[in-house]
């Protein structure tokens, strides 16, 4: 519609033979330009804020970079921060591809931590079995939490954005109850509420020994086997979305529910399945902290990873590769916070502002890019059609 009414549409002059690029190359170029533009815009506005504090933007940016990359242990800390964000963003993106917003990753992973703790503390199993069982318990808990909004959406049409937020609220109380009652440690030496310490068989081993970097990466950087698992999850999500029938159906439902249904796809069944997969991924979000860092479940568990995951997913265009890159960028910003706090007079929250600016500008840039791309595709098709007609 909009394309047909464009004023400059009248008969294309045949003269200047500008061969348009193939659409997929074009798409990549346009998107790359969008990302660069968004980053540049963020850098500029961020610089203005930093200048208003009387600091040098270049110095701040280079501090952030140096603090996160100069030593192996810094890189390990960046990866540690990126690990939960990868899972969280994958959970968001899988649902998004099927046209749903899983704002409930937050609540889902908190419940997952609770069920994982139950499996870790209450079961007495050999190490080979125990750790996988704990991970499965986390997935199961998160899936149950995702099931409620999913089934309500499919059966009643209740919008998942509202219901998942409510489930987040419920999860906080549920976990507080669990920590106060069944999971509470019998050890009275602690002021704060917490579970028993996990047995060795339920602890996620660090990655450093396997890399031979034990002497360079201190154990205070909690880089565990969950990071390679997160990479694996990226690959698995890519395969699911782009190489399986369910993935195809999910993308069809997300792109155009009407056409998907006309094509014989059950919208409800697809969305339910996808939302459960999203929940299962959410189960991993809290595990690096729980099994690789704390080694027990206490009231001061890490929060807001689910919300940050949304930002990571949008920045990464909801594509597994994009998510990996944007999670690493967020890891750098997290780690850079320490650098900002040590080396400058800026509040460390400046990185949060940079993140926010980046997300806002990237969302707008992607939308503009999408429109530019659509227009170019139409142009490409017109040109090909013109050539075919001329040849006939």
């Amino acid at each position: 519609m909009a394309l047909a009414t464009r004023p400059e549409a009248p008969p294309m002059p045949p003269a200047p033979e500008r061969r348009l690029r193939r659409p997929w190359i074009d798409a990549m170029v346009v998107q790359a330009v969008a990302v660069v533009a968004a980053v540049a815009f963020t850098g500029l506005v961020g610089s203005a804020i930093i200048l208003s504090y009387g600091e040098s933007p270049l110095f701040v940016y280079s501090t952030i970079w140096q603090f996160s990359t100069s030593r192996a242990s810094d890189v390990a800390r960046v990866l540690e921060q990126a690990t939960p964000l990868i899972f969280s963003a994958l959970a968001v993106s899988v649902a998004f591809k099927a046209g749903m917003f899983n704002i409930g990753v937050e609540g889902q992973y908190i419940v997952g931590m609770m069920t994982a703790t139950m499996a870790a503390v209450w079961l007495d199993l050999p190490a080979v079995v125990h750790l996988p069982v704990v991970v499965l318990a986390a997935m199961a808990g998160s899936m149950i939490w995702a099931f409620v909004p999913a089934i309500l959406k499919v059966k009643t049409g209740a919008h998942e954005v509202v219901t998942t937020i409510m489930m987040n609220g419920i999860s906080v109380s549920l976990v507080a109850w669990a920590l106060l009652n069944p999971l509470r440690t019998a050890d009275t030496g602690f002021v704060d509420l917490r579970s028993d310490r996990f047995p060795e068989s339920a602890v996620m081993p660090p990655l450093a020994p396997a890399l031979g970097l034990e002497d360079q990466i201190p154990s205070s950087a909690h880089l565990t086997w969950l990071f390679p698992l997160a990479l694996l999850a990226c690959a698995a999500v890519w395969f699911l979305l782009f190489r399986t029938r369910l993935g195809y159906e999910a993308r069809a439902v997300g792109a155009s529910p009407g056409s998907a249904e006309a094509g014989g796809i059950s919208i409800g069944a697809t969305q339910l399945k996808v939302f459960l997969i999203s929940g299962a991924l959410a189960g991993f979000v809290g595990l690096n902290y729980l099994l690789g860092d704390a080694g027990f479940f206490g009231v001061n568990y890490e929060t807001t990873l689910g919300f940050t995951g949304i930002a990571v997913a949008f920045l990464g265009r909801n594509h597994p590769v994009g998510i990996l890159l944007s999670a690493l960028l967020f890891g750098v910003l997290f780690r850079g916070e320490d650098g900002v706090a040590v080396a400058t007079d800026l509040p460390r929250e400046i990185t949060v502002i940079l993140e926010g600016l980046l997300i806002l500008s990237v969302v707008v840039a992607y939308e503009i890019a999408r429109r530019v791309q659509l227009r170019r595709q139409a142009e490409f098709i017109r040109q090909v059609e013109g050539e075919t007609r001329a040849a006939a």
Binding site: M1, A2, T5, F101, I103, V148, L152, K155, T156, G157, A158, H159, V161, V162, T163, I165, M166, M167, N168, G169, I170, S173, L174, A176, W177, L180, N181, T304, F307, T308, I310, A311, F314, P347, R348, E349, I350, V352, I353, E355, G356, I359, L360, V363, V364, E367, I368, R371
Partner: protein, 313 residues
């Protein structure tokens, strides 16, 4: 049940009603103009931190004003994204919420020297007692004592809002932009300014509501104090079928649900439940209400759809 507690519960319910109703009215203006605003929570958050800062420095009136204006300014991000750049409304709204979390930490650090809360005792309005009602016997009068004047204002707002929506040129045009922007355009009315003003009103009201929460209800800014109330306001809006008067009913229901864990934790039946389960009640009420009502209400026809327009209006 001890009626003293019931009275106190009603008083708290009315405070929460005020928050939910103000925010819900904001959502109503935005959605009636065709822009779904899931960022209400984030707009409220900006109102809490800016409002508390304003009230600490210049008193409650300035605090509420600054909160409302900051909500308005922040909502312009949503307007630019959805109206001008035609970004998906939910994507933009979600981004507003995520960004608000970080922005609030930054501002709180800047204003209060702590990323998560201000000092308590933010100056607020004096409270008022409603004549006659406040002397109801058996503790029920408690419900109408020490009320914030803002609560009365919130109740009274329903009249100008209904009038504006049904009897003014602006209101009718705003609604037409939400129902059928193409028709609006055809009769020579520009859709874009209408949608901008719808979103601006939502920011103003959500910011005001956030400032009310920080200044009048809690007397401090605290990270996470909005507790999803922006989303509950959305739920009330759905329940109220996008009408100002029915929204009031929804806001009262959800407002009182909020009060249950705070004041009625030991009432019969509820008292049997562990405290943490009582705290789930407001959320469960919201889920049940949404699931039960959503198919039977009618949102504005063009809400959530980008208006492509012609010629940039």
């Amino acid at each position: 049940m001890p009626l003293l507690d019931l009275g106190a519960a009603i008083a708290i319910g009315l405070s929460y009603f005020t928050i939910i109703y103000l925010t819900g009215l904001g959502g109503l203006f935005s959605e009636r103009s065709g822009i779904v605003n899931i960022g209400l929570e984030g707009l409220m958050i900006s109102g809490t931190v800016m409002g508390a800062w304003g009230a600490i420095n210049w008193g409650p009136v300035a605090g509420l004003t600054i909160g409302a204006v900051s909500g308005l300014l922040f909502s312009m991000v949503h307007a630019v994204a959805t109206v001008t750049f035609r970004v998906d409304h939910i994507v933009s709204g979600v981004v507003i919420n995520v960004v608000a979390l970080g922005l609030a930490r930054f501002l709180s650090q800047l204003f209060f020297g702590s990323a998560s809360q201000s000092t308590s005792g933010v100056p607020n309005f004096g409270t008022i007692d409603i004549p006659l009602l406040s002397s109801l016997p058996a503790g029920l009068g408690r419900a109408f004592q020490d009320m914030s004047p803002m609560t009365l204002i919130a109740f009274a707002l329903v009249f100008p809002v209904i009038f504006a929506l049904n009897r003014t040129r602006f209101g009718l045009r705003l609604r037409s932009a939400g129902e059928n922007p193409e028709a609006t355009r055809t009769v020579g009315v520009r859709v874009v300014p209408l949608r901008y003003s719808g979103v601006a009103l939502s920011g103003l009201l959500a910011g005001l509501s956030g400032a009310f929460l920080a200044i009048e209800v809690n007397a401090l800014y605290q990270e996470g104090q909005t507790q999803g109330l922006g989303f509950i306001a959305l739920a009330a809006l759905i329940l109220g079928n996008w009408s100002p008067s029915r929204l009031m009913v929804g806001a009262l229901l959800f407002g009182f649900a909020q009060a249950v864990p705070l004041r009625l934790g030991d009432a019969p039946i509820i008292g049997v439940l562990p405290d943490q389960f009582v705290r789930m009640i407001p959320y469960i009420v919201t889920i049940v209400a949404i699931a039960g009502f959503v198919g039977r209400v009618q949102p504005p026809a063009a809400a959530g759809k980008a208006y492509e327009g012609t010629g940039g209006t």
